[in-house]
Amino acid sequence: MASSHGTPPVFNNKVISWIDHRLPIFSYIEKEYHTFPTPRNFNYFWNFGAIATVMLVLMIATGIVLATNYTPHVLMAFDAVERIDRDVPQGWLIRDLHMNGASFFFIAVYIHIFRGMYYGSYKAPRELLWILGVVIFLLMMATAFMGYVLPWGQMSFWGATVITNLFSAIPVVGESIVIWLWGGFAVDNPTLNRFFALHYLLPFIIVAVVALHVVALHVHGSNNPTGIDPKGPQDTVPFHPYYTMKDGFGVMVFLIVFAAFVFFAPDYLGHPDNYIPADPLVTPAHIVPEWYFLPFYAILRAIPDKLGGVLAMFGAIAVLFILPWLDTSRVRSCTFRPIYKWFMMFLVVDVIVLGICGSKPAEGFWVPLSQLATLYYFAHFLVLLPILGKIERPLPLPPSIADAVLKKKAV
């Protein structure tokens, strides 16, 4: 079946042949996941798209099972989740997979985003591919936020209150929008109901956008660590078995770490306050979002003005949409960008610093530190990136992927 790219495959099985003649799904799989020519030089960073896909499937599977035992009502939600943990057969396992799965989905996606940024995968002709990725990221954030509300603990309730109140910063119509979001005058039963409905819906929209992301990916194929395009068959290998195996291996290693958390520290990434039932009259002393939102939360708090803080927080994600046009360098990969490479690493440090700031109370030296880190975050995208492309002198690019790979081997 090793048909070359371009000629339609011939199937020996008559049933497959019959179906494929009418609905060419087997030809599609053959073309896009078997013979698909893929750069031969992927490193392990290229595993995280597949890992994120596996996590998405896992989240949907566990989520559907959890929904069969969950009740979206303010008087019953907390107890329903406790019942899943204690009484429902294997309920604890399904819930811990779902709860930690959210964190590990974000870990995979953050590494995937870093990969895209470090190796310049967002540059022409992959701008739309990148933008679809940012859309997926936004949808994930909305889904994760609403999912966190469902157990109806203290952090659920107050997280929902703080985040929905962000919209009250909008001039004139803000208050009406917040009441519309709540379906009442505070976060209450109507809010919980609609969040459950949307939390169940959004993952399927994510699946649809992931499908578009993959379609866009397969137009020009994957980027690679050198950032240069494949020039011929010597630069590529078929997707299967080379990358099905490599992705499979990466997925297994990732799942081992994931399983360690699920079985040995299921609440390590969560917050103990969420095991206290929601109380609309008492705010916990220290509200923090889940770890994957901390950098953005720090940006929100860094600005001493309500509307300004909200705009900065949304701006931190909005700036990613225009990243392909902010980067003026023609070289994709940081491997050949001697200056930008270090600024890129510094951005990672900056985001981690923001995350730490977001987890601390907004007082003392954390305030100026988060302000400084916020400033750098925006300066990276809006100042450094456009200027560096003009003044940086990139290292000489290898003539081809094959050259780069074989030279490395020879050393």
């Binding site: 519309w180 379906g183 005058f185 109507p190 609309p280 009259l281 509200i287 803080g309 907004a362």
Partner: protein
């Protein structure tokens, strides 16, 4: 063409509206909008929290010192200038400076400020302190420091007698 397009847009908006409006508060939610509270058990210097429309409402029986302090603040020091007098007037225009009634929701991002219970931190200005992002309110519930843009909201209320107050 333009007319057809315009009519189509009107039609689409007319269909979309019920779906959007469907998410607004329902009649039963709106019906819960009035409560009545007996304030006689609240001693001078004490405060209670009652629930109204799913939100906490603070009722503080202020001391003479707290009232004086609130009245003495010059407007120029307030981010959201409002006289203390105006904040303790009910819907019948009767001023009762000893009773301060406010929605206990920080105007920043909706946390419940501390300061109602004995032993709570009351912030730098002796009123309320929001632990979420550090906003401080004075003894009139006006914002003095921190990210909150507005004073704590005074709901519509009416003393139907000296003992009973109707909120909403």
């Amino acid at each position: 063409m333009v007319a057809t397009g315009a009519l189509g847009a009107v039609g689409a908006a007319a269909v979309a509206w019920p779906f959007i409006n469907n998410l607004n508060p329902a009649a039963d939610t709106l019906a819960l909008s009035t409560i009545e509270v007996n304030v006689t058990p609240i001693a001078v210097g004490q405060a209670v929290t009652v629930k109204w429309r799913g939100k906490p409402v603070f009722i503080r029986h202020r001391t003479e010192a707290e009232i004086k302090e609130a009245e003495a603040v010059p407007m120029s020091q307030l981010p959201d200038p409002e006289t203390d007098n105006k904040r303790v007037t009910d819907t019948a225009k009767k001023v009762r400076p000893e009773w301060l009634i406010m929605i206990g929701v920080c105007t920043h991002l909706g946390c419940v400020p501390l300061g109602n219970k004995a032993g709570d931190p009351k912030g730098e200005y002796g009123g309320w302190f929001c632990p979420c992002h550090g906003s401080s309110y004075d003894t009139s519930g006006r914002i003095r420091k921190g990210p909150a843009p507005k004073n704590l909201v005074v709901p519509e209320y009416l003393f139907t007698s000296d003992a009973l107050v109707r909120i909403g």
